[in-house]
Amino acid sequence: MQTSTGTLSKRRRIFWLVPLIALALPLLTNPYTQFIANAMLIYTLVTLGFSVVIGNLGQLAFANTAFFGIGAYASAIASTNLGLPWLATVPLAGLAGAFGGFLASAAALRGIRLYYLAIVTMAFGELMRWFYTHTGVLTGGTDGLPVSRERDFGLALTSDTVQFYVFLIITCLLVAGTVNLLRSRIGRAIIAVRENEIATASLGIPTSQIIVTAFMWSGFIVGIAGAMFALHTGRVFPESFGLTQLIVNFAMVLVGGLGSVAGAVLGAVALTALPEYVRAFPGMEEIFFGVIVMVVLLVMPKGLASLLARVSPIFQQRYHRD
């Protein structure tokens, strides 16, 4: 058993080929596909962060778009109002997102779980959207807030290609960080809370704190994705973090496979590429993602990752089981 998992995790090193191959991507693309590829990296983080909470921790949450927005606004405010270079705003956005994660899940410390926690996170998300529109001095209100793309430590961040490499490095670091976190003591506790919270608590694990920790890590990753989103689009608007964003995030997690790291990447890549065609008509996006989620739930509840697991055991779910 020991040896088989050992070789399996060695074989999983093959995943590092994915970013290496991606390095060559800008040579092959035109500006438009480059722009989409950058968005894929952003959504990889958004999906991964969401998956940690709803897949690995097993708590229903609606605050993911709030973390995304908090990160984006933190980056934009720090760059516009404080004049910081974008790269310096990235860790700030991560910390702001993590703080958002703490606020959204603080009720867990009072014993709030499941649907109640879901409703609190929903209220938190709506409250954040209210803040973006009503604190115009800070956030620019509905006009949005620009993000400076000026030269940044010698990097020409106005170029989508340079952005791509920066995003790729950040994404790889955070994906590796998440894999390590899930393999750590805390990560195992997160998964144990999903499987049986009472049994976990009886082992002396502080389950409420574990829930808050998972939310904070999720907020951290998604907050950084928000900073990337701010740079990517150049201006942040309150509507970017609304309900359509939420169903897109749900669909990406579910299509990839709840709680699977490889699935988060797959879901984000697959669904970032598609919607350009469905955005043409109002309402089509919602129908498209809504139907996708329903079909996946009925036919393939473990997502694309489960299909790949049939091909090779290296795709097997390590952090989620139904």
Partner: protein, 289 residues
């Protein structure tokens, strides 16, 4: 001023009460929180609009048709989409209702685009003046319809055999199964009833507000706020919570700041769950090993 605010709060709160009640009906019988419920409300309002404006049916028959149609849609949703995954993880069940709601919203948006639709006025009841308080025809209509519905609902629940059956399922699904109650059919019926009650709320909203596809989302969270305040899962609590929320919105809007009307519900949810998680009438949740 104070009385006037209370009155408009009660009339607004009656709608929240109805939505909270419809959510509770589904939750109590199936233990699923219907996160797509706001869109049932929206769909009810839109169906009524289509029947009245596009087809030209009078308001009352149109709204009855819309309510029946939403009942059938709720049953179909329960049988076709919830049934196959019942017993699965709760995240999946919640996601199913969310995505169904999004699909309904998308359909409404595909048909009506970004237009905001004003419903033609339905009731021309002259406002009644009592001292300095004005009771509009709409408020009177909403409050009386909701009051009648609530009386019927709670009478059926407490004083008829069907009501006893419902309470039996609420208490113990296994027990109900043992005495021969078809629990699956009961679940389907509850989804239908929940959707229909939501649609009644939509019908009541339609004449007094502008219709747009995103209408459901804000009402959903108000329904949740009412449920949380009254005690999650308590039917009477949901009604009282709704009324209190409606009044609280009016007071905070008038005495503090009008922009607060929009976020009273969110603040209330957070405050209640932090201070008294079981709400006014909820039972304390006991964790059993």
């Amino acid at each position: 001023m104070f009385l006037q605010l209370t009155l408009s709060g009660v009339s607004q709160g009656a709608i929240y009460a109805l939505i909270a009640l419809s959510l509770t009906v589904v939750y109590r019988s199936t233990t699923i929180v219907s996160f797509g419920h706001g869109d049932f409300v929206m769909a009810g309002a839109f169906l009524t609009y289509v029947l009245v404006v596009a087809i030209g049916i009078a308001f009352l028959p149109a709204s009855l048709i819309a309510i029946v149609a939403m009942f059938l849609l709720g049953v179909a949703f329960s049988r076709g989409l919830i049934g196959p995954i019942r017993g699965g993880p709760h995240v999946g069940l919640a996601l199913m209702s969310i995505s169904f709601g999004f699909t309904l919203r998308g359909i409404a948006r595909t048909v009506w685009g970004r237009e905001v639709l004003p419903m033609p006025r339905v009731f021309d009841i002259d406002p009644i003046f009592i001292g300095s308080v004005v009771i509009t025809g709409d408020a009177l209509f909403i409050i009386s319809i909701v009051a009648v519905l609530l009386v019927v609902f709670f009478t059926v629940l407490h004083f008829t055999d069907i009501g006893k059956m419902v309470q039996a399922v609420y208490q113990s699904e296994r027990g109900a199964r043992l005495i021969g109650i078809d629990v699956e059919r009961f679940h389907n019926f509850s989804w239908g009833l929940g959707a229909a009650l939501g649609a009644v709320a939509g019908v009541l909203i339609a004449p007094i507000s502008l219709l747009h596809p995103d209408l459901g989302a804000s009402f959903l969270i108000k329904g949740f706020a009412a449920m949380t305040l009254g005690g999650f899962g308590s039917l009477a609590g949901a009604v009282l919570g709704g009324l209190l929320l409606g009044v609280a919105e009016q007071y905070s809007g008038a005495y503090i700041d009008t922009t607060l009307i929009d976020i009273t519900a969110y603040l209330l949810i957070i405050a209640v769950l932090l201070i008294r998680p079981r709400g006014l009438f909820g039972r304390k949740v006991v964790v059993k090993v």
